[in-house]
Symmetry: C2
Subunit: 200 residues, 2 copies
């Protein structure tokens, strides 16, 4: 049992960007796969080919890679209503650099490479939808580069806390440090410093 219907929230998310009739939903549905990952499982692993674009209905995942020294670098978190996956690997169907790792039980809707290419042909609205989704992701990515250039570690942490207050609760601190590009020790000292200032 336990597999509830994940398609309604998925279609709700589509409808934020494109108009979709009930008939079109029915047409798309056969190309979509519902799945539940347990805490600790991987949606995508480095060196495998990323076979799916994955929409998170509930739960939480992080995308990270291992550098040549074996150190983990978190490059993003994905939660409700976000898409995750190694887009480079998916688009070219070549081995992934990134791992997508569930930090909680995570329910998803997935589209395989073949099905997505098929859907693009079937309904041009899908092309528009992903153009818009990826466009937003790209804009956010540029803004992150800007922040990395012009903010201090402390300012980046404050921005992160303000932007994703839920994540501060749900994600271990050392992963947030990695996402911000600093060590866990330094993040700890930043938090300590902020806490001290609040006391005064």
């Amino acid at each position: 049992m336990s597999k509830i219907a994940l398609l309604p929230p998925f279609f709700t998310s589509l409808r934020r960007y494109i108009d979709l009739s009930k008939e079109e939903e029915v047409e798309l549905a056969p190309y979509l796969k519902q799945r539940t990952y347990l805490k600790g499982q991987y949606i995508c692993q480095a060196d495998d080919i990323c076979r799916y674009q994955t929409f998170i209905v509930s739960g939480l995942a992080r995308t990270f890679y291992l550098d040549t020294g074996g150190v983990e670098h978190v490059i993003s978190f994905g939660m409700e209503n976000w898409w995750v996956g190694d887009l480079c690997s998916f688009a070219s169907q070549t081995p992934a650099d990134f791992n997508v790792h569930c930090l909680e039980k995570t329910e998803v809707v997935q589209i395989s490479y073949e099905n997505l290419e098929h859907l693009y042909q079937l309904n041009p609205k899908m092309e528009r939808f992903f153009r818009l989704i990826i466009q937003n992701a790209y804009i956010q990515s540029q803004k992150r580069i800007v922040r990395n250039h012009s903010l201090t570690a402390r300012e980046r942490f404050v921005h992160f806390s303000d932007t994703y207050p839920q994540l501060i609760q749900r994600v271990p601190q050392y992963m947030i440090a990695s996402y911000l590009g600093i060590t866990k020790e330094f993040l700890s000292s930043i938090r300590n410093q902020i806490a001290k200032e609040l006391r005064n």
Copy 2:
């Protein structure tokens, strides 16, 4: 006089991603604008609304922004066959954060916001084309975040030199330093160090 036809290289670039018949080219042409910017001119200025997606046929531009302290941060360079513009401003038709500044005389093909939305309706291939262009830009942007996290300043400079050897010649060093997220003085000392090592 001087305005040569910029559309052929533009269509050649489109054809790398989508099939386009001669008739379709003719159909698109009225929505495209050719323009030449002189060295030093701005394709887009912060606080203005970015009205065009701009394809560079020849020349060179940089995208930069001014932080709250008035310091310039170069976020990208654009040369032949690249698209430039403040995508965030363009997509939402709100004031831009970025400036796009020509470092050389730059010949471009531009599409206005209204015309692009029209073209998306007119021919769904355009939606596909921009989905692919933006997808590549996003993948590159993610890779840049990865490099910023895991490489030293020196390694980032070496990667830049290897990837864009032409730009090393064409772009003032202080702009490259800014792009790499370091000071011009530090880049100077990195180059000095590399030159010394080569002599041994």
